[in-house]
């Protein structure tokens, strides 16, 4: 059941009939569902590698929905959360959304609203996970550059010409050209524009202005 590649919908609600009906609905809509009666129960079984989303009841005794949200954030998890509540006030929902909740739905919730929120959440999870994977890849490529090549890369994405770079680094234009070719090859890009896009995602480029 816990194949990390299949998206899972985790339902956490202390109110048993609510938990059961939501699970049923999600299951009927074709999702793989795992339901938990409390935040603690969920945390005990949660595998950060599992993809999907969390449908979370706001008002629960002991550990509330908002508290679970912050616990997950502290753990570095970015599992998207759809909040469900039988009565929500504005300040609570604002707080939940600020901390990255996908949606904040009020019971009784219409199936389409819930399902679309869950789909959005799962898509968000998928995107986040893909981006995360790409980021890892770029960082791995960056790690293969020599310090000199790294220096040249930063000048290139800053828009400097080879001649300018050579004078800045106190070397000849030919050497810069060789370094530049190595960078393009190691970073697996065809154009400078592409290189800029990759490095921007890692936060490189803004520092050299």
């Amino acid at each position: 059941m816990t194949n990390p590649l299949d998206p899972m919908v985790f339902v956490v609600d202390d109110y048993a009939p609510g938990r059961k009906s939501i699970s049923r609905l999600l299951h009927a809509a074709g999702f793989v569902v795992a339901a938990f009666a409390s935040a603690q129960e969920f945390l005990a079984q949660y595998d950060p590698a599992a993809c999907g989303c969390l449908v979370l009841d706001l008002a629960m005794p002991d550990v509330s929905g908002l508290e679970l949200q912050s616990i997950l954030a502290d753990k570095g998890s970015f599992l998207p959360i759809v909040f469900l509540t039988a009565h929500g006030d504005v300040s609570t929902s604002v707080q939940a959304m600020k901390h990255g909740a996908v949606d904040f739905l009020t019971k009784p919730v219409n199936d389409e609203d819930l399902l679309s929120a869950v789909r959005v959440a799962i898509e968000k999870d998928r995107v986040l996970r893909r981006e995360q994977t790409e980021l890892f890849e770029i960082r791995a490529r960056l790690a293969t550059l020599t310090p000199r090549e790294r220096e040249v890369l930063e000048y290139v994405v800053a828009g400097r010409l080879n001649k300018q770079i050579a004078s800045d680094l106190g070397t000849v234009e030919q050497t810069v050209k060789v370094h530049r070719a190595h960078v393009m090859q190691k970073m697996k890009v065809q154009s400078v524009a592409e290189l800029v896009r990759l490095t921007q995602r890692c936060g490189i480029g803004e520092s050299v202005q």
Partner: protein, 620 residues
Amino acid sequence: MSWVTAVWSMNAAACLTLAGFYFAVWCKQRQRPMYLLFSCSAIAAAAISAFELWMLNSRTVDEYESLIRWIHVPTWVLTLSFVAFVRLYLHAGRVWLAWSIYGLRTLVLILNFIFPVSINFTAITDIRQFSWGGQMVSVPVGASNPWGLLSTISLFLLLIFSVDAAIAVWRRGDRRRAVLVGGSMIFGAILAWHVPLVIWGVIDVPFFLGFTYTAIVAAMGYELSNDLARAAVLVRELEISEKRLNLAANSANVGMWEWDIARDEIWITDKGRAMFGFNSSEKLDFDRFRSRVHPEDRALVLQAVENSLQTGAEYRSEYRVLLPDGQVRWIDGRGHVEFDGAGQPARMRGASLDITRRKQAELEAARQRNEMAHLSRVTTVGELSGSLAHELNRPLGAILSNAQAAQRMLANGGVDVAEFREILSDIISENKHAAEVIRRLRLWLQKGEVQQQPLPINKVVRDVLKLIRTDLISQNVSVDTELARNLPTVTGDPVQLQQVLVNLVVNACDAMTDCGARERRLRIRTGLANGSDAVIVSVTDRGGGIQENEMEQIFEPFFTTKAKGMGLGLSVCRSIITAHHGKLWATNNADRGATFHFTLPIAVSDKGAVPDQKLLSGIR
């Protein structure tokens, strides 16, 4: 007719008149034997006078002999009744002396008839006649009987008995009686000594023993007449006091009544008639009275009357009467039953008090209190709206999701009957759950009749926790409950008692808003109060506590320490608890925070006392 005959006859007549009069009195007051005793004494005194008169005019020895023998009969009667009179009326005189006199006097009477002539003479030889006061009177001449000494001794004992009794009465403080009875007796005893002197021929006077007895009878009669006079005064005083009582009763709106149970007749004062709407000539019986009692209160009144008739207990009942013009009056009826000799209830006497005004004020106060309570509940619903929405939306959400899940399953094609059955049963149970929430809310907001029902206090606590669960969660307050098992029930209105607890819990939560999340603990305890005739509930918070000088102020209307509060919650709570015969107060905890306590008396069904049915009979 000579004056001697006239005086002796008048003496006898006077005694007979007194005898007749007091006999008539005795006939009306049989329970007072002294009147009969007096009557006997007076008849005996009259007889003695008559005998003496006969003896004065007697001419033959034979006639004299039989007269002197028979005069001992009235003397015996008089002595006996006099002694009995002293014992019964004055409650004085020694018993052994009384019995000695009885015995001796009876012995004298018997011997008197055994001896050939009498106890006084062994033989009468002649009749001596002499002129006395212008008339020839006869005295006997003969040999005196030595046994006559017994008669003299009995006379002597009688004297001692009388003097002793007079001293006892004197010591008791009743000096007038002592002088009168003792004096008359001593006087009589002294004068009686003329009899032996005449017999022995020492002095020449006719026998006048009748007069000495008359003196004694007159003294007795005087005493009794004092009684009669006092009775007459009492009757007059009674009339005055009755008038005063009537005046007081009328001005205090009290109607007095008496119910002759055997005849089923009711006498009632005019004020009482007006109270019940009866006209002044109408004949009244229990059924007429009953017909005036408000139909809803009839059973209650009947039960109170029956209880009194059966147990002899004081009759007490508060009820309404419905006058013919539709007016309603409140009556406080009280009375007691008198039983006849056979232990059967003979009559009931009592008073009815018109308490309409007091009752109206009470009802008005109850109505206002209940209005206030309702207002406060409506306010609380506003404060608890989160909880209510939550309580309602949760089951509604479950119903919707279940139904929509079922729709999707149908659309998917694969219909699992078992699953469908489960979905439907879940929908039904959630629907009931939602309906229950609405019912509770309606009850809470209702402005209906205040109920008086036996309640387990722990259930009230649990219901309240259900009602405000979400608020507790959203305020991060955790609740510890210590509910004593097997508590006796209390009597009250469930909604109003819930209201008190909700208020106390909401206050406790508000008091802890500045506490750290782990400090927000609330404790609700139930148990038996000291003395065990009440149940106590306490709500403890860990907030800032109450300023000592505000410990009582917090229960006053419009006193509040909250920014948004109206300051009505606690004052309404206190009025509710007071109306339930309980107490509500606050204390600060030793470490931190405050505790609110309230007590409620144990329900009568659990205690066996008489319920106060009219309590809280207002409109909620």
